[in-house]
Every structure is written in structure tokens, then in C-alpha cells.
Symmetry: C2
Subunit: 323 residues, 2 copies
């Protein structure tokens, strides 16, 4: 039985959506507990009442310091105290990271925890890391992200020798900014199966098992891909329904379009691991649907089941020779 | 009559494709001249024979220094010498920039020329600047890119008061990396109509007239959008043709899909302006089709017709108070 602490208060779409998702994910093996206002109706799920809410736009450090009884901080603390096996939050990512750093602490050797997101590419999901935890990075951080991503791909996705690529602006080693040029040298000298630079256009094509980047670039790239998928599918529907033949055609391709949308929809993954902490943290989109929340909770449970944290801790130091 | 110097040698798809595109663009008002090997068959177009070729992967500075008789350098020089009104190259972007900096020189006050790309968004084409000329930037560079982009949008796209946004990782002013946080402050204090941060998902939605970013992030974002469009349309075709009903439906929606593809295809724009030089330079994709080359040449001609370079030079200093 895996116990997942679910922060119900901080998401864009309200506690009801989060609770609905948690109820969908609940099973014999997965037991979500809702952290939030005592007035919430959680049905058959346990409610851990909390009195404060961390807003999406609050400064992470302030939020953590002043809101010890927030649903977010309490849910993270439940993992630290051994009352839950993992935490899922669709709230303020920075505050979740801040709470994780203080309450769960880093795996020994880890400099910066990073967000690892599975990308819905054409050839299995590659891991994009860091997708937004660290806006400013040094080259050695990128090496460590690559190592964490590789351990994740190996242990959880079952890829024997994950191919690592560095997100840059050209495939040649000399293309990039100061950060990627130095990171390229570090990655080349590492024990990882480093296959060189990848470009933005490679993200959905699945050119690597682990795509490493700083959190600023990773977040922009991820949102660019997601936004393009949404805009494109919406535009296609508009174009199709502009004619009668198109409307009929649209009806006929609907199953195909649905399959594609399901495959590419970020809701399918629902969440991202915050790797590098001594406790399992899954971050969901702020505007997650119930399905996305349910999948984020299942992702958290899978991470516990596969002991992501323990395997990372066991593998990381010798992989990257971190002092 | 607008004379456009066309570098035929450096593109990924060979000189024949470039020449074919130039022939498509040739008209009473637009006269392309082909710069390349004396053995090329340029039909009715003038050929300016050159003996060297700059490869796509050569280091820009080296290529410029050692290949004075390359098609790329000679085509840029033709503009510097007043023999052509604009230059189009689908070759090595870095080398084109290096040649432009030395032979054309910068508009007084401009610190860094930048690549301005029209994005095929849902609401008219916003300008993404910088799309790849400057991998490492300082905040004041971003302010200047924004100013150049705004002048471009105003003078060429006819937008009276262009809305400027900064590409970052959250809409709140405090979200971003060191570079964007400082650039945000500079943009807020400027005379531009600055509307704050935009995210990757806003790119195709047309949330701004000018989307400003450093060349590394801009290039990753642009290629992420382009790659996603391509992968998505290919995947949709695969899903559709997997069933008979879908195949029939696909036939019926083909006109709609074609309209969408035409609207979103990078070939429709064909090229990007390299803004900030005292001569008009248009950079085309390395793997441009003949249509893309033709559109890049037309874009160059439009830039000459609207005197982009002169208007930028006239407007830039007082807009940004550059010393």
C-alpha cells in the first residue's frame, strides 16, 4: 500500500478538481490523503486539515517560511515524517522545491534537485531534465542533471544504457552558449552514453532517452511544445469545420485525432518528478484536470514502487564522482 | 528594381534548389543575382562566379577570414559595395553574421545585430527576436532587440504601437533567470509598450507583436515549435491512414490540412531579417525548399522597398537612448 500526500489547495482549478483526480487514482495499492481546508468534501479519502494556502504567485522562500500550516508544506512534511511515501502538488512549484529542500533535504552529493518530465515523443518518452527547477545553472549542474536523468531512465523506464543529449542550438559541439559549451565538455568526459547536442526540433522525435538542459531553457522548450500541440489541434479543428466536406472528414478522422491527442496530451503523464531529494515529490501542472492529477498520483506511486529515491541515492555518487 | 544577391553555395540542399527558388522570385521588380561556382546553370539569372564555399559547420570567424572569394562573403560584399540592395543566404548563419559585421558594419548605436523571425501564430505574425544570432546576451542587449523588433513591427508590419513581451518561464515579473529578471526591469522602464513576460505556450497564440529573448532561448523555442508542427502533422497522417474510415476522412480534410500547413510552414516566410546592420541581410533555413528561397528573396525585396535599414537607423538611437 502506497500512501500519497496530495496538496489540494494550490492548483489553478481548485480543490474539487484535485480531489476528483485523487479519487480516480485511489485503489487497493494506492491510498491518497488530501491535505487542505477542513471544509473540503473528500468522500472516502482521508482529509488532513490545514489552515493556510500557498498562492501560485507567492515567493517560494516567503511562502515556505510563513505558511507552515499550508496544505503544500504539510503534505511535503508528511513525507519527511514518514507519514506518506510521496507527495503530489499542482501548486507553486518553487514553494514545493523550497519545502522539499528544507524538509526532505537533498540526496547526498546532489547540488540541485531538478524536474524530470517525460516527453510524449514518437519513440517512447524521453526524459527532459531540468524542466524548470533551476533557472540559472552552471555546467556541473547540467552534468548532474544528466546523471540523474540517466539513472531514472535506466531504473524506471528500463533502458539499459540511456542515450543522453544536450539541448542546444546546433548539433556541432561548438554550437551553443557558454553554459552548453562547457557542459558539452563535461558530458563528453563522463561515463554517460553522451551523444552530443540535440536541437529543439528533436524533442518530439525522440532523439535521446535523456535530454539535458538548464531549467529556464527546458521550461521554455517544454511549454513551446505543449503550446504548439494545443494551438495546432485547435487550428486544425477550425479549418476542418469551415467546410461541409471537411466537417464530414473531421467526423471520420475523430478516432485517429483522439488517439493522437491522448498520446501527446500532457495530462497522460500528469506530472514530473522532482529528482534529487530524499523523498519522492511529483509536481503536476497548475491547471491539471482530474485525469492529470490521477496520473500524477499514479506516477508518484510508481516512483515509490520502483524506489526512485533509493536507487538515485545508491547510484548517483559513483556515477558522477560528486564531492 | 530591387537587386538581391543570392548565395547559392552554402545551403544543405545544394545550389540547384537555391537557383530554382531565385528563378521563382524573379520578376520585373525583383532581380536576383546568383553568387556561386562558374559551372552553375542559372538560366536567365545573372551569375557572379566565386571560387570558394563556406561549409555549414565551419567556424564563422575562420570562414570569413579565409574565404574572401566564397559565394557567401562575395554576396554580402555586393551589398556593402552598392552592387546589390540586399543579400539572401541559406548558408552558415554565423559566417553570414561575421561577414555582415565586418563588411556592412552595424547601424550606429546597435550593440548586437539580431535575427528577427516572423512566427506563424494565430493572430498575425509576431516577431521573435533574437532567434539565434547571439547565444549569450546581457540585459541591455535584450532591450535593444526589443526596440529593433518594435521598429520592425511598426514600420514593416504596420502595427501602430507594437506590444512587446519577454519570453520567460512565468508571467509574473519575478519569474525568470538572472538575464530576464534584469531585462524585465529595463523593458518596464523603457518607452516601449511592454506587456510583461510571455511563456513558451504563448508563442503560437500571438500574445505579442514582438517577443524578445536571447538568441539561445529563441533558437531552441523556434525549433521546438517548428519540430512540433512537423511531428504532429506527420503523426496525424499516420493515425488517419491506419483505418479505412480515417483514410476517407483524411481525403475530405485534405484542403483544410493544406491550408493549415501552408499557414504554419516555415517555408511561407522563408527567411528572417538580420537586424542592426547597415545593409539588408535575410537568412534562410539551411534546408530551404525552392519555395522557401523564393519567399526569402521576396522578404528581402520587401525590406528594401520599406527601407528597413534606414528606418531602423533613424529610429533606433532615440528609442533606446543608446550611447
Amino acid at each position: 500500500m502506497i500512501r500519497v500526500a496530495v496538496d489540494a489547495m494550490g492548483s489553478d482549478r481548485g480543490a474539487g478538481v484535485v480531489i476528483e483526480g485523487a479519487r480516480q487514482a485511489a485503489s487497493d495499492g494506492v491510498v491518497p490523503a488530501i491535505f487542505g481546508s477542513s471544509e473540503l468534501d473528500t468522500g472516502e479519502l482521508a482529509l488532513v486539515p490545514t489552515t493556510q494556502v500557498v498562492g501560485m504567485h507567492e515567493k517560494p522562500a516567503d511562502a515556505f517560511r510563513t505558511k507552515a500550516d499550508s496544505s503544500l508544506v504539510r503534505a511535503v512534511k508528511a513525507v519527511a515524517d514518514g507519514e506518506a511515501d510521496a507527495v503530489v502538488s499542482a501548486g507553486n512549484t518553487g514553494a514545493t522545491l523550497a519545502a522539499g529542500l528544507v524538509l526532505l533535504r537533498r540526496v547526498p552529493g546532489v547540488r540541485r534537485p531538478a524536474i524530470a518530465v517525460p516527453i510524449p515523443s514518437r519513440q517512447g518518452p524521453p526524459i527532459l531534465i531540468d524542466a524548470g527547477a533551476n533557472a540559472d545553472c552552471r555546467p556541473e549542474h547540467l552534468l548532474q542533471f544528466a546523471t540523474m536523468g540517466a539513472v531514472f531512465a535506466e531504473e524506471i523506464l528500463g533502458i539499459a544504457r540511456p542515450r543522453v543529449r544536450l539541448l542546444s542550438i546546433g548539433e556541432e559541439p561548438e554550437k551553443g552558449n557558454h553554459l552548453t559549451l562547457e557542459a558539452h565538455a563535461l558530458l563528453s568526459a563522463s561515463d554517460l552514453d553522451f551523444r552530443g547536442n540535440a536541437e529543439g526540433r528533436d524533442i518530439l522525435e525522440g532523439a535521446a532517452d535523456v535530454l539535458v538542459t538548464d531549467g529556464f531553457t527546458g521550461n521554455v522548450a517544454l511549454k513551446s511544445v505543449e503550446g504548439t500541440i494545443r494551438t495546432l489541434l485547435d487550428s486544425l479543428r477550425e479549418e476542418i469545420t469551415a467546410s461541409t466536406a471537411g466537417t464530414l472528414g473531421g467526423f471520420l478522422i475523430r478516432p485517429a485525432a483522439r488517439r493522437l491527442r491522448a498520446r501527446l496530451d500532457p495530462d497522460t503523464y500528469g506530472g514530473a518528478y522532482l529528482l534529487g531529494l530524499r523523498g519522492l515529490v511529483v509536481i503536476a501542472h497548475g491547471n491539471s484536470s482530474p485525469t492529470a492529477i490521477a496520473n500524477a498520483i499514479r506516477l508518484a506511486a510508481r516512483g515509490v514502487d520502483h524506489d526512485v529515491v533509493g536507487r538515485l541515492a545508491a547510484r548517483l555518487p559513483q556515477e558522477a564522482e560528486i564531492v
